[in-house]
């Protein structure tokens, strides 16, 4: 039973991990993008639509990534080039993205004459199956090596992002821009370019998270009204929980995923707590983490100093 619970937690945490990794990339470059929910919704639609018509998982993921990039491009143009308020731009992107997904989702339903459904072959390509050899190991085989391919992809993306961020020159430049764009500018880093690249990259990763929701969680059927349903917002909260580090986000998303399925795995005849309590838990923990990190005042695990402030060269 406990094994099943952990397995379900990993599955529930995967879309969050995508969203969080994407948002970390964005925030590390000094821009806070509150449009995660919207970018995920757009990714959910494009991923499903492409998978529905082409039957190819690779193309579906590429399309979801692509639409995430386009959505983030809107945000980047508005905030980096035109220096609009980042919070407002992000919130607007959320509203826009949800509208975009629902509008085209409805058109897709109308064209299909009923809820569109992914083909059997497509569903087989994203089904959970044990990996050869590793999947046969006791306990770990089921827990770690019997997932759908997107779970591995999410962890791979998170690890690659961390290595890139902490171990490469480009990653160092990006962190410099996020902490102090004026200083980065003075050393000859092209601040605008760095911001653009990472905001777009982050948006694309968020789009992948959306694709996970529509392809895996929906069971292969498009639900127009509530594909994303707040997962994007939880991802934003998870960024704080993970203290801006994608590898920590792997564990964070596992914990948040565990909280979201906990209500279904706690035996109700033993522990009687209303479900609403379990729904509240992730946010309660985030609040506590915020308090603890602010008390510790560690430079490592705090928000990039330049985050939320647009950089205007002439004003430095």
């Amino acid at each position: 039973m406990f094994l099943n619970f952990l397995f379900a937690s990993i599955k529930a945490g995967t879309p969050l991990l995508f969203g969080t990794t994407g948002e970390i990339m964005t925030e590390k470059t000094g821009n806070i993008n509150l449009g995660v929910e919207g970018m995920m919704f757009m990714g959910a639609f494009m991923g499903f639509y492409t998978g529905y018509h082409t039957g190819s998982l690779a193309l579906a993921l590429l399309a979801a990534f692509g639409i995430g990039v386009v959505a983030a491009l809107i945000y980047a143009v508005v905030t980096v080039t035109f220096m609009a308020n980042q919070n407002v731009a992000g919130l607007t992107l959320t509203i826009f993205g949800i509208g975009f997904g629902k509008f085209f989702g409805e058109a897709m339903i109308g064209k299909a004459g009923g809820s569109p459904k992914l083909s059997e072959e497509f569903m087989a390509s994203i089904s959970e199956k044990p990996l050869p050899v590793l999947g046969n190991l006791p306990v770990i085989g089921k827990l770690l090596f019997s997932h759908n391919p997107l779970v591995y992809l999410s962890i791979l993306v998170a690890v690659l992002c961390t290595i890139y961020m902490l171990r490469t020159r480009a990653g160092l430049n990006m962190r410099a821009v996020g902490e102090n764009p004026a200083a980065a500018d003075a050393t000859g880093i092209n601040v605008t370019l760095v911001k653009y690249i990472h905001i777009l990259l982050g948006g694309g990763i968020c789009g992948l998270g959306g694709a996970y929701l529509s392809l895996i969680n929906g069971g292969g059927i498009w639900n127009n009204s509530s594909v994303v349903n707040g997962q994007g917002w939880i991802s934003v909260a998870l960024v704080i929980f993970a203290s801006w580090n994608p590898v920590k986000a792997i564990f964070g998303s596992l914990i948040f995923g565990a909280f979201s399925v906990l209500q279904f795995y706690v035996p109700k005849d033993v522990i009687v707590i209303p479900n609403a309590f379990y729904v509240m838990l992730p946010f309660l923990i985030t609040t506590m983490v915020l308090i603890i990190t602010s008390m510790k005042k560690s430079k490592e695990g705090s928000q990039p100093a330049g985050c939320g402030v647009n950089y205007f060269r002439e004003e430095r």
Binding site: S115, K117, G219, I221, N223, N224, F264, D269
Partner: protein, 395 residues
């Protein structure tokens, strides 16, 4: 100095624009006032005409529908209602412009409800159906304001005896039949039920109890395990709840929830399920057994016809299997052998007067909830059923 001047100008503009708004508002109220008098004038004429002809000429007849969602969703609650409207339109031979649909009307926003309904009235609707619980009070008020329009509201309980009533049905009868299909299919004698709402919601709870009694009627050893999502529509949560039930060892997943996610979860594990609202066999062909469904067209056709012919009475409507309002979708090939016969027999029994909640019944705490020779009234089933049947367990 300049700044002061500027701020004064800004303040002045704001005051002026406010004043402008004020006058505009007055103007609009005036127009609505004249419009109301205009409708009043029409209204006073109308009854005179009605008294002679009794009913409405076919070509003038219009039907309004207020939907909480969008029929374009292609499945689920609003879709099921709209299929009923389509059936009514076909049965009465109405043209498309004789049906006025207002979609996505939030049922907690009284202003939006009023606007949507008044738009229908302005377009000439003779009968207006409201499909969601929250429309009830607004419809009641409007029924008093527009005595010549008939207001019919789903799932509530109020009525004014003339031009406002409520309609709903005994969906628990269909759930009993679905329970038979599930009870005959299960190998592990463990059946999962994904419930949108907890024990306090008697619509859901009554459905679970009827389902469990259907299961028990063919398989006394089987138990029904319930997990509550606390939402009517969330594919992620519903899927997770279903998977948790499957992890317990359940091999049939039933649901009172709007999405197909629980059925898809059952299909992915290679086991079985019973959907709800629409026939989910097309979504989960290798898992789905049968689903309790609504045929709202039965009521919509009857009600619209009554208004059209002038025989409308304003009584509340509470239909069931005998009227054809509720039923189960055709059994899929996944059902166990003999299911069709067992269900047909039970269906005949229900149509013949079997109440389901009758006789000696106990809840899962061991309390007697119904005595031998008695039955539970429909009012209690829809409004006050806050206990689970003895084979039901919340997990």
């Amino acid at each position: 100095m300049f700044k002061k001047l500027l701020s004064m100008i800004v303040v002045a503009t704001m005051v002026l624009s406010l004043a402008a708004c004020g006058t505009k508002k007055e103007a609009t109220t005036e127009t609505t006032a004249t419009e109301t008098t205009a409708t009043d004038a029409v209204a006073t004429e109308a009854p005179a005409a009605e008294q002679t002809t009794k009913g409405i000429p076919m070509e003038d007849f219009k039907v309004g529908v207020i939907h909480i969602g969008d029929p374009a969703d292609g499945a689920g609650y609003t879709f099921a209602h709209d299929q009923g409207i389509v059936a009514m339109q076909a049965a009465l031979g109405l043209s498309d412009d004789q049906v006025i649909r207002k979609n996505n009307v939030n049922d907690t926003d009284a202003v939006a409800i009023r606007t949507a309904i008044e738009e229908c009235i302005e377009e000439g609707a003779d009968i207006i159906f409201g499909t969601s619980w929250g429309y009830m009070d607004t419809m009641e008020q409007l029924a008093a304001e527009y005595p010549d329009v008939v207001f019919s509201h789903a799932s509530g309980y109020k009525s004014n005896g003339t031009n406002f009533n409520n309609y709903f049905g005994r969906i628990y009868q269909a759930r009993y039949l679905a329970g038979i299909a599930a009870g005959m299919k299960t190998q592990s004698d463990m059946i999962g039920f994904v419930a949108a709402m907890g024990i306090d919601n008697s619509e859901v709870t009554g459905g679970i109890n009827a389902f469990a009694m259907g299961v028990e009627s063919v398989n006394p050893d089987a138990k029904v395990y319930v997990k509550v999502t606390n939402t009517w529509f969330d594919p992620t949560l519903e899927g997770q709840a279903a998977e948790a039930l499957l992890d317990l060892g359940c091999d049939v997943i039933a649901q009172h929830a709007d999405t197909t996610a629980p059925q898809m979860a059952a299909q992915n594990r290679g086991v079985w399920g019973c959907g709800y609202n629409s026939d989910m066999t097309k979504d989960a062909p290798s898992a789905h057994l049968t689903a309790p469904i609504w045929n709202w067209g039965v009521y919509y056709t009857m009600a619209a016809k009554a208004v059209l012919e002038g025989t409308w009475t304003g009584e509340n409507y509470y239909g069931g299997m005998a009227e054809g309002l509720v039923d189960i979708s055709p059994l899929s090939a996944n059902c166990a052998e003999g299911t069709q016969e067992a269900i047909d027999a039970a269906k005949q029994k229900i149509i013949g007067g079997f109440k389901i909640f009758e006789g000696d019944l106990y809840d899962n705490q061991g309390n007697q909830v119904c005595k031998a020779g008695e039955f539970i009234s429909d009012a209690d089933i829809t409004g006050a059923m806050n206990w689970y049947y003895k084979t039901v367990e919340v997990k």
